[in-house]
Subunit: 414 residues, 2 copies
């Protein structure tokens, strides 16, 4: 094991700042324009070309969703219901309410129509369905449209959508799915906002349609930052590292401690346990390239934590309150030795769709409030208006906007 | 005058959905990459090429800001202070506070470093400085960096920045300014988020850097939707139309009423007053191409209001409460005959940086909370953990994520 200190880390660490090529942009632009022009036919063509699927229809029949759900075992049905109920309760608890501020009211309204992108492919993640659809439902969104490149007639993604009562599901993925949601086709209506993680092409497409529709954040590889001390449980910490590493060879794990000795214990135990892991190939790859043990002082470790702004931060430490309080930037923080990150992936409550790759420095995890929009209602008393209209007219005059000034003064009392 | 009804309107109205060309994207990408590579030198080159300015230095000396302020007349100084105080008070009143929810805490933190783009060119708008910088200051942002293509030694933009205590000001504009803020140069540090309106190249650049930094919304031409009835003051309504139309030949004005007769009165009075307007050429152009009088039933007018989701909505109507309540999507709503839109441009309180071109259907006006980020802190009791860990493990197992399952079960009590 080679642990590094903070200075060394910041000097050598580079995050995945996008170097999207002009060619990639052009390819995605071409797909977007093709779907805008040729609509459903373009979706069928791309699905044939990229996914090797000849679709009869783009929309999934409700009977497939229902059958998928009915085929689930009772234990997974019960687990999904537990997750659903806890996620709903959490989102309700953080939902913004209108504020009456006298001459101002600040109001929130659910979006009318939302598109959710659910990744498909070889692995299916029912938890991602729960963590994106439920916040939209709690917001009160009128229509939810889900696209997913999932082509089996019965599968757990469809089952989970059925459990949530979602009926508008389309078997399309990639940039073409984003284009369909952004601009509409004969089958898929134009939505107001698109949320949910996807691959690199989905990310570029979301960036390019932003402004025509809203988007949530752009997702990168998963990551965890563990802040641990001698009181932490070695095996628990090791499994927390493995749980993140098993997602993807690019998943990143940061292991921070003020104790070199403890870090050494964890690293040694990792070597012992790694061979028994069912996903050991991915874990080994990820740990070899993207595992960062960092030993330094409290002050420096806090600094690096805020620099990284990790998607998941887990603080397992005797002084957890002070540490959690000092970490300003994180996707979500898991406090204490019991509340591990994996419980948050499934059932704790807050959405597991979280900002990655240092974007927690400016963005937050998906939640109910991202599916609402808001505006202020301004209604000044005549007394207030008369007391400030003169100043407003002076600024209008200085900006050379004379009709602004006239519209102010026509309401001024002598 | 030709007034139209809602069905006719929706069939014929097209919003400015972006048809950015691949060539424009490539040009902006080239600027972004050039600034990433050549930093300050690239900024100097582009400023020479696009703005015809040979800069000695990119950063504005504090003495220029101070001199600019000192040269202001007392009446405009006083007006700017009135605006500053009211904007600050409003932003404080809507700032989010941390929420303690038992096993969850939802916390807000100010961004560390923010870039504000202030448009320059022929006209300078001190109000835009107030409406972008103050929300960031109230949020508690540690460093604010302002770029503006403004090359006069003394000007009202610099004066207003001085009034607000902003010291980091750079005379750079366009896509190159966005690149500098997103990636950093020798003089301009990389920021966490970029806010503020700019031209089409600024908009494309913001879209392309999104993900590497945060951005606020992408600005289009200004617009107002007036909902009026026979009780409204004809001249006041006419000046409200002119105030919006004078911004720009592309500014849009929607005049909605259930009364054809009243609309006719307004249109007739517009013709009488238009010749006296100092900015009549712009107003005429804008009214000829982008003025939409619409007469229909209440139900249909509400429908079209929510369809347009106008940047500014002004309701001057005997039943203003019912109408304001039914409008779900708007940048901001000005309620009543006294609270005209122009008072909001300068001194009412809420920022005048508002979503345009139907984007209020998914986004909101700039405010203090856009300069904060947030995260949840999850800390379950052992009792809660033990009651749900079994369900979490079942989902992990079904998703094939076995280290997730192990990290859950290592904390399970028998």
């Amino acid at each position: 094991m080679k642990s590094i200190n903070v200075k060394e880390f910041i000097d050598t660490f580079s995050s995945d700042e996008s170097y999207t090529s002009a060619e990639q942009l052009k390819n995605v632009m071409d797909i977007l324009n093709d779907v805008r022009q040729n609509k459903d036919q373009a979706l069928l063509d791309y699905t044939s070309r990229f996914d090797g699927q000849e679709l009869d229809e783009i929309k999934v029949p409700l009977s497939y969703l229902k059958e998928s759900y009915e085929q689930l075992d009772e234990d997974i049905k019960k687990a999904l219901v537990t997750a659903k109920e806890r996620i709903e309760a959490y989102e309700k608890s953080i939902k913004y309410e209108d504020r009456n501020l006298g001459e101002f009211t600040y109001v929130y309204r659910p979006l009318e129509r939302v598109g959710i992108y659910v990744p498909g492919g070889t692995a299916l993640y029912p938890s991602s369905v729960l963590m994106t659809v439920i916040p939209a439902q709690v917001a009160g969104v009128k229509e939810i449209h889900v696209t997913t490149p999932t082509f089996e007639r019965n599968n757990i993604t469809f089952a989970t959508l059925y459990l949530l009562g979602v009926e508008n599901v389309y078997t399309v993925g990639g940039a073409q799915a984003v284009a369909a949601l952004a601009y509409g086709t004969e089958t898929i209506p134009k939505v107001d906002k698109i949320a949910g993680p996807g691959n690199a092409y989905v990310a570029i497409a979301k960036r390019l349609v932003y402004g025509d529709v809203g988007i949530d954040s752009i997702a990168g590889p998963s990551e965890i930052l563990l802040y641990v001390d001698e009181s932490s449980d070695v095996d628990a910490v090791v499994y927390d590292v493995f749980a993140q590493a098993e997602h993807d060879p690019n998943a990143r794990t940061f292991l921070l401690s003020e104790s070199e000795a403890f870090i050494q214990k964890v690293e040694q135990r990792m070597e012992e346990l790694i061979e028994d892991q069912p996903r050991k190939e991915i874990i080994k790859h990820s740990v070899a390239n993207n595992h960062y043990p960092i030993v330094d002082t409290r002050e420096n470790l806090i600094k690096v934590s805020n620099y990284i702004a990790a998607e998941h931060v887990s603080v397992q430490h005797e002084e957890e309150d002070a540490i959690v309080d000092a970490i300003d930037y994180a996707g979500a923080i898991f406090k204490g030795k019991t509340t591990c990150e994996a419980i948050g992936d499934y059932v704790a409550g807050p959405s597991h769709v979280l900002p990655t790759d240092r974007t927690a420095r400016f963005s937050h995890g998906l939640n109910v409030n991202d599916f609402m929009t808001s505006h202020s209602i301004i209604s000044l008393t005549n007394e207030t208006y008369q007391s400030i209209v003169g100043d407003a007219a002076i600024i209008a005059d200085r900006e050379g906007l004379f009709a602004h000034k006239a519209s102010l003064l026509v309401r001024k009392e002598d």
